[in-house]
Subunit: 295 residues, 2 copies
């Protein structure tokens, strides 16, 4: 029916080397095989493509006509193969990473730096958004991998979740509230104080909402913030009790400008996780990146 593309590759080499024997070597075939293949192609196209002689072969007019197109075709295919090889060997490529501010600041940045050093030709696209939006982007294929804070009880058959590090939220307060220091503070107690936390539609907030609800109370914060790194400064300025990732508060805790509340019911454990969409295969580049995070 239609001519095998394979014969065009053979044709290309024969035309290029002007010699069937040489082309055969380049193609890892024998001379009769190539000869037969060209004969077949000539038959199917209904014209002679080469003039045979003892010095090799030369293109006829029809052969030249064919070669003008086939050479372009072959070179494009070789180009394509090279490009795929390049992406496989990480000398080219793109990873689109979705991350929350929290994971970006307190986990991802040093890895990104290392990865850039190791694979300078790979472009990194960081989509910084809140957890729900990032998950949505992952599902729709807009990003390849997400690095987010999660509780491991979340199950979604479409997502592959890999734990990377533990993560803690703490409740912190300034010395304005020193009456709470070294005391076991119940959730009910907390409700009597101004509370500072993240705005709705963030994982941190949803996590706290759930925590309060599971203890039969409702979280009604007095101050809602869009970025986690604003919580500690707010707390320092005596504006209330804040809930923040431990790492965001670490420095202030160390220099004693704020203190950690001891809650009668501990905040549940969270994890920083790498999440990928198992409906979309990960490119080699993305796999390499993930591998680095896991180790």
């Amino acid at each position: 029916m239609s001519i095998s593309f394979e014969s065009y590759k053979v044709f290309y080499y024969v035309a290029k080397y002007k010699n069937i024997t040489a082309a055969a070597k380049a193609l890892f075939l024998t001379q009769p095989t190539v000869s037969h293949c060209i004969l077949g192609l000539e038959n199917e196209l209904g014209c002679t493509l080469f003039l045979r002689s003892q010095k090799g072969v030369t293109l006829t007019h029809e052969g030249l006509l064919l070669y003008e197109h086939v050479s372009i075709a072959c070179e494009h295919i070789f180009m394509a193969e090279d490009k795929i090889k390049a992406t496989n060997s990480l000398s080219e490529g793109l990873i689109r990473i979705g991350a929350s501010e929290t994971t970006l600041h307190h986990f991802l940045l040093p890895y990104l730096k290392d990865f850039r050093l190791m694979h300078s030709k790979i472009k990194l696209q960081i989509a910084n958004d809140n957890t729900p939006s990032t998950i949505a982007a992952l599902k729709s294929g807009l990003i390849d991998v997400a690095i987010l804070v999660m509780t491991l009880d979340e199950k979604d058959p479409d997502l592959t979740i890999t734990k990377l590090a533990s993560f803690h939220y703490v409740a912190i307060a300034s010395h304005e509230f020193s009456q709470l220091k070294d005391k076991l503070v119940s959730i009910k107690d907390l409700l009597g104080y101004p509370l500072i936390c993240m705005e709705p539609n963030t994982f941190t907030r949803q996590f706290l909402d759930k925590y309060f609800l599971s203890n039969n109370h409702e979280l009604k914060p007095d101050i809602e913030l869009a970025t986690a790194d604003l919580i500690t400064p707010m707390v320092k300025n005596d504006l209330g009790i804040g809930f923040a990732p431990y790492e965001f508060a670490a420095e202030s805790l160390n220099n004693d400008s704020v203190f950690k509340l001891t809650l009668s019911k501990e905040l549940p454990q969270c994890e920083i996780c790498a999440i990928s969409n198992n409906k979309r295969p990960l490119s080699i580049v993305s796999q390499t990146f993930l591998q680095m995070l896991i180790q």
Copy 2:
């Protein structure tokens, strides 16, 4: 070793139809065959090319990368096939014809006209030169076919010679030489008159040289011309006895402004022949053209 080009054709169709089943139909293959082929290609390239779903398939990033090149490659190959088909179907092409002035004027022109009418897309390249140069051009592949006056005793293993028409040379004179009219003129007689013929390095001249020599005389013309159509006018103007193709003199013979000498030894028979180089295959177009001349 190297990836079969055939799988790229399959890949192209699958990417184009975004559907393995549809691609299989277009390729006159079954769905499992195409599926298997794509799987093999993915394996060899070391990456996933398509996202499979129940609605069909979509390209991954690597797949898109590949498609950008492979689509160009495939389209070039299809273009090439179309062009070859076009030249085979005579809706495209070129014939390079070598002809002498004589054959062009008195044989070829009406055929060329007809051929153009029948195959308007075929370009005709006419190389008008003397016989030896035309034969050289034919042997070196500069022209596809030559239409020349020859004597059929010429043998050359590289050339295929086909007789197309008989051809006559005549000796003519004006009434200034009426003493020769209706007389049997010998070659020796001729030498006493001024002779007009073609310049050396033309078939006509070599033909006459041979004729004189075979009768133990030497042709020493008084006037040598480069073009055959000048001979009759020269003769008309009483400049001497001329040797010309009968057809060039026909009109003047009919209106009696010149007369034909009756030679004691007739000029040998000549033929208008089509000549092709049997070391180079004739294109379909050239074959068609030759066919027309023969019939």
